[in-house]
Subunit: 418 residues, 2 copies
């Protein structure tokens, strides 16, 4: 048996123990994990310093360095996030259906943990602690395969979490941080469909496509977020400008940021000059179609690729459309099934927009930046799904469980007398 | 573009139209489909007669012939099943969460169709109509890839259903019955992850493994059902015998039939002779461990493989265990995650059994044969899942949908002033 398979087997055995803990025990375990992150701050920051030094030596860019960097305040925020997960409502054991059949058998659907989750992610070491907390809160084991850039941070975090697990009588394998980061090891991990119930890749589109392409375990993922804002003829112009600026500028690198602005022709003359000014003053580059370009000083011509692009940057594609149907048709063509927003005061158009589009999150008069597990009330987010299976949209604790059947009877049989 | 891809694209386009119909429209469509099956009975039975003649010429066995065979009464039962699906509660549009966040945005989770379902199945032509009905009821399109033995039955059924679709203004591609049954065509279908949201293989383990092995679309499946009955020391003996006989004998070829009997040592002396007699009188072959063999006249020695086997026949493996923990340990080792039953009058042991086992269906004092969508109140069953993702256990209409987010606000933005 290979090392990877051995680790997966150990995690699976530990997951059975985690599933056996009750809500209070899992809560206490998570609080101990948070405390261990704090009491091991020295080791974790030292590990992180090694990663940062290596990253700088490799000439890694500032954005990446910032994602990788831990300091005391970030570390305590990480511990606090783990404590918050400890305080979230426990999905495990939740009864979602309770029904007595005509023959008297009582049929319940009850949430149970998924089993073992494999997280594949890149350089953010806080994902290590938060994903571990979410998976354990929902009664699962977790295998964490982070990026090589964060290896010393991640192993130090794992050691801290492991000490808390051990103190609670749970095998440390319940949170397994892989140190064999070769691509072949990841490939092997992704084949273990009898040991791993779900893989969640998080990171760049290349990593996610690699995982989706090669996995024999189920994968929940989203490749990208090409989020649209459609400003209807009846929109409140000032409000729509706010939604646009927040959606595009508050964090351009986030997947829930806007990439395309669609504007109803009847409001374009009023809306676009104000919108263009607001965006330009924040350094946003505008790529516009023939109808909107004259209304947007400094804009360039949008290509077809611009409408399909996730810029992850201060760039936006703009197009004037005839009506809500034309907006829907455009979005259907280019959607990544992530998040779409309509700004409107027309209730019928809002409902039409909601029902015609099947994206994971559809919004009316609200910023796309709320398309996030925490903002939508899920507590914390393990990932986002744009595949319509199991979960669709931001995923919280519930997405780490599944409903199964518990049936109680008094000797009922299906074929009365045989 | 290949034929298969073209058909999948057409189905996807049609599925968008089906998703746009409301509950009443989809209900009317299904009732028209049922009526079309009846009014096209002549063509369907003629197609089925061709299939039966070809099957007989190939020397296909009686069990298979019976599965393939349609007659007027089976055909009307098929139409009736479609009508029943038309009458089931509509999962689409169901609001499963409705919550106003502190900032005033209203967050709902609402069920939407999955999109396009690919069903891969073997010789039962009634699956064609029932799967089509279930998929359309839940707002999806469906691609049906049946067995070559049923090709003329299936195309005749598809033609009947297609006429009903066309009469309701829905493209016939919403129910696409593939006629290219080459293995390469199936392989191609299973790669179309941007067009197909879910594949459900139903049939022998070989077919299912082939689909799971080669699919790049998500697959929900179960390989086999190794269902256990554990008779606890406190069981009502007469009741436990009934559960055993019903579970093993009422339909041995069903996946929810019992394959292994575990008996608490303290009750074995009383229970096993009665159980053995009841089974033997129904022609059941007994494969027993060393402790149970003396109590079961005519039994043979069970091997390790017998405890892992899905016999699908009048054969059962028997073992005496020390207590509920030993029963749990045995089941954990051999489970197929399908259905496990405990016969007991001890409430603590019942709860321990339920919580220690993570199978899709866990039952107390009830026949395993109730582990079926219809019996559990799902209305009708599209398949059974033993993977813990999306659905676990018998799958009804709800499993053909997913919850997405609908968010309504009044201009809220995430970053107050930028």
């Amino acid at each position: 048996m290979s090392d990877i398979e051995q680790q997966a087997r150990a995690c699976r055995a530990a997951a059975t123990m985690v599933a056996g803990l009750d809500t209070a025990q899992r809560g206490a375990l998570l609080r101990a994990m948070a405390a261990a992150l704090e009491s091991n701050a020295g080791q974790i920051l030292a590990g992180n310093a090694r990663d940062l030094a290596a990253a700088r030596a490799k000439g890694i860019g500032n954005a990446m360095l910032d994602r990788l960097m831990l300091d005391p305040s970030r570390l305590f925020a990480m511990a606090e996030a783990v404590r918050e997960v400890a305080g979230l409502p426990d999905p495990v054991g939740q009864v979602t259906r309770d029904d007595v059949r005509p023959n008297g058998i009582r049929v319940q659907k009850v949430r149970v943990p998924l089993g073992v989750i494999a997280m594949i992610y890149e350089a953010r070491p806080n994902v290590t602690a938060e994903a571990a907390a979410l998976c354990l809160r929902a009664g699962n084991g977790v295998i964490l395969r982070g990026g090589s850039e964060a290896i010393h941070s991640n192993t130090a975090i794992a050691a801290a979490l492991g000490s808390a697990l051990a103190a609670h009588g749970v095998p440390e394998a319940a949170v397994t941080v892989l140190t064999d980061l070769r691509r072949e090891a990841m490939l092997e991990l992704l084949q273990l469909h009898e040991l791993i119930d779900l893989a969640i890749p998080r990171g760049g589109e290349g990593l996610i496509r690699f995982v989706a392409e090669h996995a024999r375990v189920p994968v929940i993922k989203h490749y990208k977020g090409v989020c649209h804002l459609f400003v209807d003829a009846s929109a409140d112009v000032a409000q729509a400008v706010d939604l646009l600026v927040d959606g595009k500028c508050s964090r351009p690198s986030a997947c829930n940021s806007l990439e395309t602005l669609l504007v109803h022709r009847d409001i374009a003359g009023e809306f676009l000059p104000r919108a263009g000014q607001a965006l330009a003053s924040r350094g946003v580059e505008l790529r516009a179609d023939a109808l909107s370009q004259p209304l947007l000083p400094g804009s360039t011509s949008a290509s077809d690729e611009d409408y399909a692009a996730e810029f992850l940057d201060l760039i936006i594609a703009v197009k004037v459309v005839d009506d809500v149907e034309a907006a829907i048709a455009h979005i259907r063509r280019y959607t990544s099934d992530h998040t779409e927003v309509i700004a409107t005061r027309d209730a019928a158009n809002a409902e039409r927009f909601i029902h015609a589009l099947q994206s994971a999150v559809v919004m009316v008069n609200t910023s796309s930046r709320f398309s996030d597990g925490g903002q939508l009330g899920l507590g914390s987010e393990i990932g986002i799904s744009t595949t319509r299976l199991h979960a669709y949209g931001p995923m919280g604790l519930e997405a780490l469980t599944v409903e199964r059947f518990v049936v109680r009877g008094e000797g009922q049989v299906r074929t009365a007398k045989m």
